[in-house]
């Protein structure tokens, strides 16, 4: 009896929390965590629409599987990058990595 709107609003809230984490946190890995939250919110959205929309057509789940794969790949590369940056700069604070500053 849960209307879809609840899932959607929940996903939106989770998304916004994740966005806040991306924009506001200093530590780069914390930013990655925010990104994870955002991706999960998107997944929830996808699966909710699948379930409430066309449950016979498995496309929604397949899409969500793809999102999983992409998220995993992205985290792996991102963390590798952070480790590399840490080795050079001895810091992972996002606002200290500002070589592109004018």
């Amino acid at each position: 009896m849960v209307p879809i709107s609840w899932y959607l609003i929940f996903a939106a809230a989770l998304f916004c929390i994740g966005l806040f984490g991306v924009l506001a946190r200093k530590n780069a890995i914390a930013i990655l965590m925010g990104i994870e939250l955002m991706l999960n919110a998107v997944n929830i959205n996808l699966v909710a629409f699948w379930r409430y929309g066309t449950p016979r057509d498995i496309s929604g789940q397949a899409f969500a599987v793809m999102v999983f794969a992409v998220a995993a790949a992205e985290v792996a590369v991102g963390l590798a990058l952070f480790i590399s940056v840490y080795r050079r700069r001895r810091t992972v604070a996002a606002d200290e990595i500002d070589l592109l500053k004018w």
Binding site: V22, L23, A24, A94, I97, L99, K101, W102
Partner: protein, 726 residues
């Protein structure tokens, strides 16, 4: 090839020779003289062919050999130029061809072809001799070859072109072109040895003086053209209607008719070119040039061009002449001619330089010719022109031979005497026999020795005409001039050839090479026999043996053939008396002149002698009247005041003004406004960028925030505009 194209061909070989020598063979002396003499020979051949042909034609005066081409388009019509051989042109062509060829050949020897190069010779100074050693090792000084040998032949080639062009042309324009070319060559050749200051002064004097005459001549030509619309001889001078028209229209100037004024103006050109008083001052100084130049240009051809022109325009001068009453222009011509004849003869008797005597003699004889034209004795003037060309060329070439011989003596003995001063000569008849005989023949012709010389017949003709038409003043003046002519001629011959040598140089003089003596011989033959073509028909004893070719042939040139004057003993006796008397007097006075002696005339004439020797101080007069003021105008007025002060001052003022304007523009417009604007743009860009630069912090979180805020803003905007505002 038609006979007309042969006429066109005549002036071309010398012109080609000029160009070839100048451009190609300047370094090779033999090639140059071969080309030049070859060209002269070609022109001579063509001239003789034309002359022979012209004598075959019946009534050449009515049907001259002519050919013309349209040359210059003027408005609707064309100015045609062309050639015309009528009797006057034919006889002129005859003597021009002969004298030119003789002088070309003579120049080879005169400029010492075949001699070694001189010790200190440079182009621009006369050759000063080369030192060679003979078989015994003695050092001799011998004449050296002229360094500018080829250049000489090039210039006389160009000159020959000019003269031939003048003779064969059928209109006043090409005549004037030939006239001016000859003037140029005269200038170049008088100053041939351009390193000599006297030669440079003489060349400028000659050019400027003849220029004065040429200005008036050009005025005459222009005036004639403006009145008649043509310059062709046939259309004006052979056309009775045109002549009558010109003769009766008043020109409004000095009461002369148009014909009279044109004739007067053209005559002034002839005065300049033929060195008549008052424009006579250049000819004696022109003796600075090499002797072949003096012979060709200043005796035989160029100065004859003035007489030729006056003969040509005789119809213009004589139109309006009724019953022997001379027109005003003819009176002027006769006066100038007669006056100059006497004037120059008086100066000639006091000159010591062998060439100067001949120069004044030329002026005097030309005066005879002009006087003859002035009194209407057309045939006599033409006749004397042809005769004079031969014997005057002979005399000049002879004097060149004498100077050469004495110079040889100067080199041999090392004596420092002027080889041209007759008082340093004497006894040369033994040392230079060929020169002596030919010079004697020429001198006798000049003096008018009776019966056997050409000069006698032509001068007698003039006297007969003057007396026969009752021009007594002219007759007496000319008779006096003839007396003086004979006198100074014999003076010259006696001082130069007779008696004993008055200097060591004269003692060691020697005869010259064949290239110099053969032309002398040929010209001498002409001087003897040529006069016989003009024996009047009613002359006692010898008249009528040969037809009077001069009257018959040359007379056809005019519309109305002049009638020969009836024979009278008075002019004949006068002519014989003045001739023999003058010759005898000259011999008597000078036969015993010793070395270092003064001229006997000095004692007899006293102050008059000084006056004559200084040529009546005309040079000094002209210098005071014309030359100094000209220099003053050039220097003080034109140069210092006009040019430097006014023109330069004006230009400097403009420059100053321009720089003021420039500075103003720079300081008040360029720097503040334009530079300032450019600088302002740069500065403001820097300031703007300094303001905007901090956006790039390098922190991606800030970038993302900025992006999202912007997206949110735009979304709201679009939503409002597209959805809500609907």
């Amino acid at each position: 090839m038609t006979i007309e194209s042969l006429v066109w061909f005549i002036p071309l070989p010398p012109l080609l020779a000029f160009f070839i020598i100048i451009l190609i063979t300047n370094r090779w002396k033999r090639a140059s003289h071969v080309i030049a003499i070859g060209a002269a020979m070609l022109s001579w051949l063509a001239s003789m062919a034309i002359y022979w042909y012209a004598n075959q034609v019946e009534h050449l005066g009515e049907h001259p050999i002519s050919s013309s081409i349209p040359w210059l388009p003027i408005g609707d019509t064309w100015l045609t130029v062309g050639v015309q051989i009528d009797p006057l042109a034919a006889v002129t062509l005859f003597f021009v061809a002969w004298t030119v060829l003789m002088i070309f050949i003579y120049s080879v020897g005169y400029h010492n072809y075949g001699q070694p190069k001189g010790d200190h010779d440079r182009p621009g100074i006369p050759p000063h001799g080369a030192t060679i050693s003979d078989v015994q090792g003695h050092m001799h000084k011998v004449p050296s070859i002229e360094p500018m040998y080829s250049r000489f032949f090039a210039f006389i080639g160009l000159f020959a072109f000019g003269m031939y062009l003048l003779v064969i042309s059928d209109n006043l324009l090409t005549l004037f072109i030939g006239w001016e070319i000859m003037g140029l060559c005269s200038y170049l050749l008088i100053g041939f040895w351009y390193a000599k200051l006297s030669a440079r002064a003489a060349m400028i004097k000659a050019f400027l003086t003849t220029r004065v005459g040429d200005v008036f001549m050009l005025l005459g030509i222009a005036y004639l053209y403006s009145v008649t619309g043509t310059l062709n001889y046939r259309d004006i001078l052979h056309n009775p209607e045109v002549l009558h028209e010109l003769g009766t229209t008043a020109s409004g100037f000095l009461g002369l008719s148009v014909a009279g004024l044109v004739g007067l103006l053209l005559f002034i050109g002839a005065v300049g070119k033929s060195a008549q008083w008052p424009l006579h001052v250049w000819l004696p100084d022109a003796m600075e040039g090499p002797t072949p130049v003096s012979a060709m240009i200043h005796a035989a051809t160029m100065v004859s061009a003035g007489v030729y022109l006056t003969l040509r325009i005789f119809p213009l001068l004589a139109t309006g002449m009724e019953h022997g009453h001379l027109t005003p222009t003819m009176q002027v011509v006769a006066f100038i001619g007669a006056f100059t004849a006497l004037f120059a003869a008086t100066i000639a008797i006091a000159q010591n330089d062998i060439k100067r005597v001949l120069a004044y003699s030329t002026i005097s004889q030309l005066g005879f010719m002009f006087a003859a034209i002035g009194i209407g004795a057309y045939i006599a003037a033409a006749f004397h022109l042809v005769m004079h060309a031969f014997f005057k060329a002979l005399l000049f070439l002879g004097s060149g031979s004498v100077i050469h011989g004495v110079e040889h003596g100067v080199f041999h003995t090392g004596e420092n005497v002027d080889p041209q001063d007759m008082f340093n000569m004497g006894g040369l008849r033994k040392k230079m026999p060929i020169t002596f005989i030919t010079f004697l023949i020429g001198g006798l012709a000049l003096a008018g020795f009776p019966l056997i010389t050409a000069g006698f017949w032509s001068k007698d003709e003039i006297f007969a005409d003057a007396f026969g038409h009752n021009h007594t003043a002219v007759f007496i003046t000319l008779a006096l001039a003839a007396l003086l002519t004979a006198y100074y001629t014999m003076r010259q011959i006696t001082l130069t050839f007779l008696g004993e040598p008055r200097s060591k140089a004269a003692d060691h003089a020697s005869e010259n090479v064949w290239t110099m003596t053969v032309p002398l011989i040929i010209l001498a033959i002409f001087s003897l026999v040529l006069g016989w073509v003009g024996i009047p028909e009613d002359f006692p004893v010898v008249g009528n043996i040969i037809p009077n070719y001069a009257h018959e042939f040359v007379g056809e040139t005019l519309l109305v053939e002049p009638k020969p004057v009836t024979f009278n003993f008075v002019p004949l006796i006068t002519s014989i008396v003045v001739s023999l008397g003058g010759l005898g007097l000259g011999w008597l006075v000078y036969r015993k002149t010793k070395a270092g002696a003064a001229d006997p005339q000095e004692r007899v004439l006293g102050a008059v002698y000084t006056l004559l020797q200084n040529k009546y101080y005309f040079d000094e007069l002209y210098d005071f009247l014309f030359v100094r003021p000209a220099y003053w105008v050039a220097e003080k007025f034109s140069y210092l005041w006009m040019d430097r002060k006014i023109i330069d001052g004006f230009l400097n003022w403009i420059a100053h003004l321009t720089s003021l304007i420039g500075n103003f523009l720079r300081n008040f417009i360029d720097m503040p406004i334009i530079n300032g604007f450019g600088d302002w743009i740069g500065e403001s860009t820097k300031k703007l960028s300094a303001i905007l630069r901090p956006i790039q912090t390098g922190r991606i979180q800030q970038y993302m925030i900025l992006a999202l805020v912007t997206v949110a803003g735009f979304t709201a905007l679009f939503y409002y505009l597209l959805v809500y505002g609907r």
